[in-house]
Amino acid sequence: MIKRVFCIDDDHITLTLCDLVIRKAQFAEEVLTSNNGKEGLLFFSEFFSRNRKSKQTEEPPQIIFLDLNMPIMNGWDFLEGYLMKYSDRIPDTKVVILSSTVNPEDFSRANQYEIVIDFINKPLTIEGLDELKENEVVSKFFL
């Protein structure tokens, strides 16, 4: 099972549902949440400063479930910022886009990022997570 996942979504119902489904599917032990891209970046900023100070190694999230359409900072901008500042430090952490989008451009854009390992259309379901467990990056957590 995965230790920590990080869900970034502006809709608190979605976040609640994600939390419930992830637990029910026994996908991850802990679900961290954030309300938009900016907060997401802040989380990592704090995560790294916290870990440098205390020298105690806190587990980073292994999967980031990222919504695309969000106020203040959308998913793409988060992804750019994250890749620039943090992804090198925790290279095993991957991104799964979780969105209601129907715009084909979003799909093709997502394809261009190596860090994005899947694109799930909302809602996140137990079946969807079970499929994700088959993914070669994710599967190693469920041996």
Binding site: D11, I13, T14, L17, L20, V21, K24, N69, S99, S100, T101, V102, N103, P104, N121, K122, P123, L124, T125, I126
Partner: protein, 610 residues
């Protein structure tokens, strides 16, 4: 004394007179041969057999007297000078013979060598001249008859034909005898007698203003001729010689030339929305014409003999100059220029001469200002439309997203909802209905979004698909319904098993057709569905045949693949299925047709283009 060797025939029955004459002759013509005849009969014999230069003729002979005697000899020797010897009392008769052709007469009693010599001398000279005249006349006749141009000799002041040559006989088709029976007027009905006179020996053909004379041949063919008219003397008569030049063909060629020139002018002067021009090597305008010249309201003469490029601004002129130079090297060019606020399209072609050199070029100029403006307007319109379309697309994506976001939450919730934990039956029922509504809403929204995505996504991936594999998967997804209705599904994909298509589209198409066939099956019979492929030329056809309710095609033909068209009162029907099927097939470059009969069944035929 005459020192020529001449042969003299003396016709004299009186021996005394003969000896006297012979004596004189020996004296004046020492080299002459003298032949003697006593009668007309003798004379005739000698004239027939011998070459006689002069005849001395007595008018009183045993076999002929007076005029008879003269005519007897004259008929045998009209070309030989005849000098009549006569007595005193017969001078009247002698004068008569002069009129008939005698050379001279000598009264025997006055006869002396000098008078005789003079008379013979004149006679021989005159005969020589006559001979020459005759020969020249013969030559003239020869020239007349063998002339390649048709010729006529007319009697002076009339149209009567005296003589025609072979060329005339050949040209007009009349025989010589026919010609001699007719007049020149019959050949040329419009001729007037004045046309044949007045100008004397001058040719009249140079007169440009005089129209050509119309003539009719024997076979009725009309010809146009010019006449050369000469006054001549023929056989002592004044006659009119007419030389005919047939100009029919020349006129025809002239007329054709005139017509083609006229046509060329008509074309060039009426050249629509522009002009044509011919330039020489120095780009000088040799000719220009057209409905619209470069500078409106300016006549062609303003441009002629000016350098073409001088009418443009310096920059444009240089560019045009470069273009035209390549035309002189043998290329055809099409280019655009602007003049004030007008736009022109110029097509320039080289006019290659027979020796392959190019000394002139042809320009065809079209005013394309209007087209340019239309084009620009069209471009703006397209840009605006594309902008609007893009806006709409973005709008639809945002709307779909915003619709889907709460819907996906609802779906998430109902999936987590465990109805078995609800004890209140009322709440359980409401939640069950809530779940059903949510699922329906999700179906509808998904269908609409699919439509939207198919419409906007023309570059959908194609791959080689196995029809039986895909169809099996589709059947499995609706297996419970199939079993429930005891539907029979027969499939035969032997003829064509694979097809180049988009996988999810093919799945969606087959699923739609299958669920339709099941949904609209007849309650009166067991549903039977046949699916098979056929290979026809370059394409594969997939037949989907059911025995269901059918569709009234006469009423619905145009609407069958339309959006939100429903043909049956069925709870699940949203009017989207066939619309999507059609859209997906069309996007992949295929076609779908339908055949149906109410209460018999429906056949869909999909054509996959390979």
């Amino acid at each position: 004394m005459i020192n020529e060797q001449i042969n003299v025939l003396v016709v004299e029955d009186n021996q005394g007179d003969y000896f006297l004459v012979k004596e004189y002759l020996d004296e004046i013509l020492p080299k002459s041969t003298i032949r003697h005849a006593n009668s007309l009969a003798d004379a005739s014999k000698i004239l027939e057999t011998e070459n006689i230069d002069v005849v001395l003729l007595d008018l009183t002979l045993p076999d002929g007297i007076g005029i008879d005697s003269f005519m007897g000899v004259y008929q045998k020797a009209s070309q030989i000078p005849i000098i009549v010897l006569t007595g005193y009392g017969d001078t009247d008769m002698a004068l008569e013979t002069l009129k008939l052709g005698a050379q001279d007469y000598i009264v025997k009693d006055d006869c002396n060598p000098a008078a005789l010599a003079k008379s013979i001398g004149y006679g021989i000279e005159r005969s020589k001249i006559l001979d020459q005249l005759k020969r020249s006349e013969e030559q003239y006749k020869y020239l007349f008859h063998s002339n390649p141009l048709p010729m006529f000799a007319l009697k002076e002041g009339t149209f009567n034909i005296l003589m025609v040559n072979n060329a005339a006989i050949e040209h007009y088709g009349y025989s010589e005898a026919e010609f001699l029976q007719m007049t020149f007027e019959e050949l040329s009905p419009q001729i007037s007698i004045e046309q044949l006179s007045g100008s004397g020996n001058q040719d009249t053909e140079q007169d440009e203003t005089q129209p050509d004379l119309k003539q009719v041949k024997k076979d009725g063919t009309q010809i146009y001729v010019e006449l050369g008219i000469h006054d001549i003397f023929l056989q002592g008569q004044e006659e009119r010689l007419i030389v005919v030049h047939d100009v029919t063909e020349r006129n025809l060629a002239k007329e054709q030339l005139r017509e083609s020139e006229q046509m060329f002018r008509t074309i060039s002067e009426n050249f629509p929305n522009g002009s044509v021009a011919i330039l020489d090597k120095d780009l000088k305008i040799l000719y220009t014409a057209g409905k619209e010249l470069y500078i409106p309201q300016t006549p062609p003469s303003y441009f002629e003999n000016t350098v073409y490029t001088s009418h443009f601004s310096q920059d444009t002129g240089q560019r045009v100059n470069d273009e035209l130079e390549s035309v002189f090297s043998g290329q055809s060019r099409v280019f655009e220029v602007t003049y004030d606020d007008l736009s022109y399209m110029i097509s320039a072609v080289p006019l290659t001469e027979q020796d392959k050199s190019i000394n002139k070029i042809l320009l065809a100029t079209q005013n394309i200002t209007e087209q340019k403006r239309n084009e620009k307007e069209k471009e703006l319109l397209i840009e605006e439309l594309m902008h609007n379309n893009n806006d709409l697309k973005q709008f639809s994506y945002i709307t779909s997203h915003n619709l889907r976001a709460p819907l996906s939450n609802l779906l998430g919730i109902i999936q987590l909802l465990d109805l078995s934990t609800i004890t209140d039956p009322m709440t359980a029922l409401l939640l069950k209905n809530f779940k059903e509504c949510t699922l329906q809403l999700n179906d509808t929204v998904n269908d609409l979004i699919n439509v939207l995505i198919i419409k906007n996504n023309v570059n959908t991936k194609k791959e080689t698909l196995s029809i039986p594999v895909i169809f099996e998967k589709v059947i499995n997804s609706v297996q419970t319904t199939v079993d429930h209705l005891h539907a029979e599904i027969a499939q035969d994909f032997k003829e064509a098993e694979t097809v180049e298509f988009n996988k999810s589209y093919l799945e969606s198409i087959l699923l739609n057709l299958l669920t339709n066939a099941i949904k609209y099956s007849s309650p009166n019979r067991k549903p039977s569905i046949r699916v098979y492929t056929k290979k026809i030329k370059d394409s594969i056809k997939l037949y989907f045949v059911d025995n269901g309710l059918g569709i009234d095609l006469e009423r619905h033909k145009d609407k069958i693949f339309g959006l939100y068209q429903r043909f049956h009162d069925h709870a699940d029907s949203k009017g989207l299925g066939l619309y999507m099927v059609n859209s997906q097939i069309r996007v992949m470059g295929g076609e779908i047709e339908v055949e149906s009969e109410v209460n018999k069944g429906t056949t869909f035929i999909i054509t996959f283009k390979n």
